[in-house]
Amino acid sequence: MRPILLQGHERALTQVKYNADGDLIFSVSKDHVVCAWYSHNGERLGTYHGHQGALWTVDVHPSSALLATGGADNTMRLWEVKTGRLLHTWEFATSIKRVEFSPDGRQLLGVTEKRSGHLSTIVVYEIDPDVDAEQTDEQSLRIVCDESKATVAGFSYGAKYIIAGHEDGTVSQYDAKTGELLLNITVHEPDMQITDLQWSADRTYFITASKDKTAKLVTTNDLEILKSYTTDTPLNSAAITPVKDYVILGGGQAAMDVTTTSARQGKFEARFYHKIFMEEIGRVRGHFGPLNYVAIHPKGTGYCSGGEDGYVRVHHFDKPYFDFMYEVEREQANL
C-alpha cells in the first residue's frame, strides 16, 4: 500500500470527506482554504477561497454538485463543487463546528459553537439542490443545546432523527421534524467530549469517537451501544468501513502536547479494529501528528486521513486487507 500524500494545506487538517461516488476528496484545514482532490491519483482539482477563519468542517452534497463548509469566521458557506464559486453564506454569532447534508440532499445541518453568551445550537436549512437556485436564509429548525454543547451532529436514515454528540459524552436523538429531544444517553465517559460521529452506509447505526480513548458503535433508533473499541489514546475520529467489517480509529496525543512527544509515542496511527470482535487487527503509520479525521471511501476501497501535521494521506487498500478473515468468518464463508 503506497499512500498518496496531499500537501495542499499549510495548517492542521480538520476534516476530510469523500463524495458519494468516492472519486473526490474534500479537505479543510485551519488555513482557511478548502481543497478538492481526485482520490485515485491525488491530483488537486481546485481550491475554494472566501473563508476568513480556520475551517472546522466540510460536507459534500450527495449529488457532488454542492459543498458546504463551516469555520471559525462564524459563517457556513455553500459552494459549487465544479468551479469553486461561492453560492451562499450564512452568518452566525459563533463558529460552525460541523455541517452535514441529509441523505436526500434536501437539508443542511450546522452545529454552532457555544461562546460569549450564545448557547450551542443545531440549525437546519432547506437546500435547493440546483446549483443556480437562490438558497434560503430561513432556518427550518433550530435546536438549542442548553445542557451541554453539541460537538457533532448528523441526520439519520431518511432524515428521521438528528443525532448529536455532546461535550459531556452523551449522545442525543432529536426528532428531525420538530426538534424535540427524544433520547439522551451517556455513551462515553462523563465529561469526555465526543469528537466524531460517522454513519454506517445505511445510517441505522453510527460510530462515535471520544476523548475517553474509546469509540462506540451505537444504534440510531434507541441509542443502544452495540460495540465498544478501547484504545490507549484520545480519539479524534472513527469511521465504519463498508465491504469489510472493520472500523478505523484515528487520534493521538492532544495537539498541544505534540511537541513534547515523539512520533513513536504519540500514537499517530490509524487503528483498524474488527467491527464485530472489537479486536485490533492492525495499524497504519505515517502521520507526524494526531489524526484529526479519517474518512472511508464509500465503496470501501480505501481511506484517507487528515492529520495535525497538515497532510492528507490517501490509502488504497490492497489484497491482504480484503482477504483477511477470522477463522469463524472463513468457516461461514465456506458453508
Binding site: M1, R2, P3, I4, L5, L6, Q7, G8, D21, D23, L24, V33, W37, Y38, N41, G42, E43, R44, L45, G46, T47, Y48, H49, S64, K82, T83, G84, Y246, F272, E279, E280, I281, G282, R283, V284, R285, G286, R313, H315, F317, D318, P320, Y321, F324, Y326, E327
Partner: protein, 281 residues
C-alpha cells in the same frame, strides 16, 4: 537521411549521425507479443540497440459516467491553468506501507516489542558475576561462599591496602598528583602535548594477573563508562602480561568512578590496584 548534398555546414554533421540510425522496428510475434527494436547513441558515442518485448492487454473498466465527467473538469482556484495530472508541489507518493490485518494483532505486536527489548538488553549487558566476573549470574557463582561481592571486596581490600601503601609497597604516597592539582607546578607543564588529555582519564592498573587479556580488562572497566583504550603490557617473549595495564576513559568522571570501584578488586586470584596514571615525563 536524404538531403545530404545540400549540407555544407560541418557543425550540423553531428545531427546527421543520429538521423542515420536505423529506424525503430516493430515485429509482431506469434504469441501475441511485440518486439520493438530501437537504436540510440549513448553519451560516449556508442551505438546502442534496445530490444523490448511487450505484451498489450486491453483492460476494460466500467466507470461511473458522473465520475468520468468529473475527471474532465477544468481546474480552479490555486490550481487554475495548471496542466492535467498530479502536481509535484501538492501531491507525492509516500513510502510503501505494508498493512496486513491480523487476528490478535495487539498480542503479536506486544510480543515482538517485548522480545526485542530483551534482545537489546542482552546485547548491551553481558551476564557477569559480581564476585568472580565470570559469565554467570552472581547467585550461581562457585566462589559465592568464599569471596565477597565486588563492592564489599573493594572496601575490605582498601583497608588492607592502606597499611600496605604506608609500608612502601608499590607507589603509594609517592609523586602522584591528583588531576585537579596538576599544572600547579608551572603553566608550561599544563601544555603537556598530545598525552595531556589522555592522562586525565587514564588509570594505571597494577598487580594484574599474568594470564589476563586485554579483553578481560576492557570488559571489566567498560562497566563504568566508555573505554577508549586499554593497554596491557606484555612480555615480548612469553606473551604473558607483565602485570600492569593502562585503561583510558572518554570521560574523567567515569575514570574516577572506576578507580574507586576497581581498586582492590579481585581478579584472577590477585587483587587489582588501580590509580590514576602518572604524568608521563
Amino acid at each position: 537521411m536524404a538531403t545530404f548534398q545540400g549540407r555544407t555546414d560541418w557543425a550540423e554533421e553531428e545531427d546527421e549521425d543520429s538521423v542515420q540510425l536505423p529506424q525503430q522496428t516493430i515485429t509482431k510475434n506469434k504469441d501475441g507479443t511485440e518486439t520493438i527494436t530501437t537504436w540510440s547513441i549513448r553519451d560516449d558515442g556508442k551505438k546502442v540497440k534496445t530490444t523490448r518485448r511487450i505484451k498489450k492487454t486491453v483492460v476494460k473498466q466500467v466507470v461511473n459516467p458522473r465520475v468520468a465527467e468529473r475527471k474532465h473538469w477544468s481546474k480552479f482556484g490555486l490550481e487554475k491553468a495548471k496542466p492535467a495530472g498530479p502536481q509535484t508541489d501538492t501531491t507525492s507518493i509516500a513510502e510503501n506501507i505494508s498493512f496486513r490485518p491480523m487476528a490478535n494483532w495487539k498480542a503479536s505486536a506486544e510480543d515482538k516489542s517485548e522480545t526485542d527489548k530483551k534482545k537489546n538488553n542482552l546485547k548491551d549487558a553481558k551476564i557477569k558475576c559480581r564476585i568472580c566476573s565470570g559469565d554467570h549470574w552472581t547467585t550461581k557463582c562457585p566462589f559465592k561462599d568464599t569471596m565477597a561481592p565486588e563492592g564489599e571486596a573493594a572496601t575490605s581490600a582498601e583497608m588492607n591496602d592502606e597499611p600496605e601503601a604506608a609500608g612502601g609497597l608499590g607507589a603509594g604516597g609517592s609523586s602522584y598528583v591528583p588531576p585537579h592539582l596538576r599544572g600547579r607546578g608551572g603553566a608550561g607543564e599544563k601544555m603537556g602535548g598530545k598525552y595531556e588529555r589522555d592522562d586525565l582519564a587514564t588509570l594505571r592498573v597494577t598487580n594484574v594477573s599474568e594470564f589476563a587479556e586485554e579483553q578481560d580488562l576492557r570488559d571489566m572497566f567498560s562497566r563504568f563508562g566508555h573505554v577508549t583504550r586499554v593497554f596491557l603490557a606484555k612480555d615480548r617473549e612469553t606473551g604473558r602480561a607483565k602485570g600492569f595495564a593502562f585503561v583510558s576513559y572518554a570521560d574523567r568522571t567515569d575514570a574516577a568512578k572506576a578507580c574507586e570501584k576497581m581498586d582492590g578488586y579481585g581478579f584472577g586470584h590477585l587483587i587489582l590496584r588501580v590509580e590514576f596514571a602518572k604524568k608521563s615525563t
